[in-house]
């Protein structure tokens, strides 16, 4: 018994580590969104600021680091992502549904083949789906000459919708297959027998039954499309979606604006999850009450009679919210007290950095003067070494749009 107890503690620790691994990085990233420093970090904490959600900043070296609300490329990408997501939902949900229904109607060998082909796209690497879509449509566009075919064959949004639909349809297909497994096919026969036409059976029996699956397939399809990178990066051609914009930003240099974006997405996700959970619990409760009532009606067993309790219960999560608000207010007060919030702090930090930068520039100038012309032409600036010392990582410095 004791060893069991010990094992449980071990398991608890393990789960804690696991959750830390899952959420730690996201949490830290979220916090860095509020640090006014150019580099997303916590430990050299400059000031608490909202700048990365708003206008961003012009760095001391003249580099413009856009914030969320001012970055037109993000906005543009977001709109295209939404368009593509909608397109993918409109295509892949009907496709997945049709395929899953037909799967219930074919048998033996044909069924195996059909099923295998249908799930293949999930096993294909995303990049391959993107590439194959692009090469095929480029060919179609070439053969089609000028005109419509050539226009759509080289349209990144169109190709991305097709490429994503290829494998997202499989996700939808699997969702529908799971739901249809529990479908009682005699219902269709009953409806037919009662005089419904095949089309009526489809719309009055099958579609209502599949409605939850349609909803979840649409959500999953949209999310999968929205966050897809591997396929999109090939098929989008010269356009940009939100993910490819993020990718190019991350590759060029890491800016806290991306942290801010991530925080927004995390917040939206959390909200959706919480709403979903609340709705589900409410539904469960209702169902349970109904069942209890039914059992009581059938048995008339007074032990099962449940009196409705009149007292109002405060939901637990309210305490959590209150605690969060108290902690937030306290922390914010501390920030203000220590001059870590507001324009004053930011401008102080800016001027400090600027003077630092000016000094370094002067140093660089001196160094440059001492280095003879030849080595300058070689491109190996002695000053680079110093910058390396100053900013720790020369790659990162470049990422900030330093000397290139």
């Amino acid at each position: 018994m004791k060893s069991q107890h010990f094992l449980n503690i071990l398991l608890g620790i393990y789960i804690f580590i696991f959750l830390t691994y899952l959420f730690g990085p996201l949490l830290i990233m979220s916090v860095t969104a509020f640090n006014s420093a150019e580099f997303p970090s916590i430990t050299p904490w400059e000031c608490f600021s909202w700048r990365w959600f708003q206008e961003g900043k012009i760095a001391y070296d003249g580099q413009h680091l856009a914030g969320l609300s001012t970055d037109w490329r993000l906005h543009d990408g977001l709109i295209k992502s939404l368009i593509i997501g909608l397109g993918v939902v409109c295509l892949s949900v009907p496709i997945g549904m049709a395929a899953s229904i037909v799967l219930t109607q074919v048998h033996s060998r044909l069924r195996t083949i059909f099923y295998s082909v249908s799930i293949m796209p999930v096993l294909f690497p995303g990049v391959i789906i993107g590439i194959s879509t692009v090469v095929l449509w480029d060919r179609i566009a070439t053969i089609g000459g000028e005109g419509f075919l050539s226009d759509i064959g080289r349209n990144g949004i169109f190709l991305t919708i097709l490429g994503q639909t290829c494998f997202i349809s499989t996700y939808c297909f699997l969702i529908f297959v799971a739901r249809l497994q529990r479908f009682d096919q005699t219902q269709e026969e009953a409806a037919l027998d009662l005089g419904a036409s095949q089309t009526q059976v489809f719309f009055k029996i099958l579609i209502p039954y599949l409605m939850p699956a349609i909803a979840s397939a649409a959500v999953i399809a949209f999310l999968a499309s929205f966050e897809n990178y591997n396929t999109t990066v090939f098929s989008i051609l010269s356009d940009q979606t939100l993910t490819t914009v993020i990718a190019s930003k991350v590759r060029l240099g890491i800016s806290p604006a991306i942290s801010a974006l991530a925080l927004v997405i995390i917040a939206l996700t959390l909200m959706a999850a919480i709403i979903y959970e609340i709705l589900r619990r409410r539904e469960d409760k209702k169902k349970k009450e109904r069942q209890d009532q039914l059992i009581y009606e059938q048995t008339k067993d007074s032990r099962l009679k449940k009196e409705k309790t009149g007292s109002f219960k405060i939901p637990k999560f309210i305490f959590v919210i209150i605690l969060l608000i108290i902690m937030g207010t306290f922390g914010f007060n501390q920030l203000i007290k220590n001059d870590l919030y507001g324009n004053k702090c930011v401008s102080a930090a800016e001027s400090a950095k600027k003077s630092n930068f000016a000094e370094q520039l002067k140093l660089l100038q001196q160094n440059a003067d001492t280095v003879d012309e030849k080595s300058l032409e070689g491109g190996n600036l002695g000053g680079n070494q110093d910058y390396g010392d100053i900013f720790g990582d020369e790659n990162l410095f470049k990422d900030f749009g330093g000397f290139e």
Partner: protein, 398 residues
């Protein structure tokens, strides 16, 4: 076309007072069903083979047989879910070939009822009107009338899963009746219910059939169900009809060894014909000689035997009595008591003849059996009128 016309006329009358009409049994359209030489094959497997039967209009007709005997296949052929490989289905004299299940004047009650779980009870019942484009008011009205008929008034807004098993059963019947079918097909609808409820529903189903007066075709493997409710039954085995007839005929005069053993209990005696006198056959089985009656081939004709034929003689457990001064019939044999089984209203007594043939007979619980104990010899007697001789054939395995 005449079918449709009749239905329309019915609809107009129905609008006014549906319930009354059903109960009074006034203008009811009911059709006869004829299966002509129906065969259904799946690959090389015969699910039904050369089935010929005519079901009269307004009749309660049952197909009875063990599972896998092809009775559900026949039902599906009648309702239109399955095209027979050969033969014709005639309903009301019309050939149904090429007419889908939604166009036939039949309604099917499924084994699992197949109620629509996402719809309310009223919507379930009025579904057939909904797909015919009837107005909401009309649907509501009809649903209320039918709910009254099945004694569920005011429960139309409930969901199906809020009903009890028996209530669901009745909703399924109401739903099937809402389109005023001429033939109602029932596919073992009682099999999911517990014993008490099943017995209650038997009576109820029979009463509903009497009230609405339409043809009921009932499928079951439970001979008790078939015999209590039906006017006539058809016994099926391995896709073929074994016997069609009135319930008591099938029970008393089985045409084949299968029917003899499948419907009710029976004791088979493998025997050899000694002599034949008209329909009275003298047989010899393991040293015992019995007088028995030749079984029937069909309603009018008996099997004919000649001495030396290998036959089976059947005698039902309730036709065997303990021999005493009051009970002396024309056949006797002695046996050794094996076990006595108590079954409530009856006691089943298992005996052995020559220590190798098992015979079972039953006596009412009131009969004193205290003298019978294991390994005791007992003298038994039965009437030659109740013993049926049939040619050798397949028995129902239990």
């Amino acid at each position: 076309m005449s079918v449709l016309f009749k239905q329309d006329a019915f609809l107009i009358v129905f609008k006014f007072k549906f319930v009354k009409i059903i109960i009074s049994g006034g203008i009811i359209m009911s059709a006869d069903v004829e299966l002509q030489n129906i065969s259904v094959t799946f690959g090389s497997f015969y699910a039904a083979k050369n089935v010929n039967v005519k079901i009269k209009q307004g009749e309660f007709f049952s197909f009875l047989g063990p599972s896998g005997c092809g009775k559900t296949t026949l039902l599906r052929a009648i309702s239109g879910f399955l095209d027979p490989s050969e033969g014709k289905v005639l309903i009301g004299g019309e050939d149904m070939a090429g007419i889908g299940p939604n166009k036939r004047p039949t309604s099917l009650i499924f084994q699992n009822l197949a109620l629509f779980p996402l719809m309310s009870v009223a919507d379930n019942i009025a579904f057939s009107l909904e797909v015919r484009g009837k107005s909401k008011n009309e649907r509501r009205k009809r649903a209320d009338e039918l709910l009254e008929l099945i004694a569920l008034s005011g429960q139309g807004d409930k969901k199906v899963h809020e009903l009890s098993g028996g209530q669901r059963q009745r909703v399924a019947i109401a739903r099937a009746l809402a389109i005023e079918p001429e033939v109602l097909l029932l596919d073992e609808p009682l099999s999911a219910l517990d014993l008490k409820l099943r017995q209650k529903m038997r009576t109820e189903l029979r009463a509903i059939q009497k009230r609405v007066g339409i043809t009921f075709i009932y499928i079951t493997h439970d001979q008790g169900e078939a015999l209590t409710m039906s006017d006539r039954v058809a016994v099926m085995n391995e896709g073929e009809l074994e016997q069609v007839g009135l319930c008591d005929d099938v029970y008393d005069y089985p045409n084949t060894p299968f029917v003899a053993t499948f419907v009710g209990e029976n004791n088979p005696f493998y025997a050899k014909v000694v002599s034949v006198d008209n329909n009275e056959v003298k047989v010899e089985s393991q040293g015992n000689t019995f007088l028995a009656t030749a079984g029937k081939i069909n309603e009018n004709q008996n099997h004919s035997f000649s001495p030396g034929d290998e036959v089976i003689m059947f005698i039902r457990p309730e036709s065997i009595f303990i021999k005493n001064d009051n009970n002396k019939l024309d056949n006797f044999f002695s046996a050794k008591v094996n076990t006595i089984e108590f079954e409530g209203n009856l006691k089943n007594i298992y005996v052995k003849i020559n220590s190798n043939i098992d015979v079972r007979f039953s006596v009412p619980n009131a009969v004193d059996t205290s003298e019978l104990s294991s390994n005791k010899d007992v003298e038994l007697t039965f009437s030659s009128k109740k013993a049926v001789v049939l040619p050798k054939g397949q028995l129902a395995v239990d």
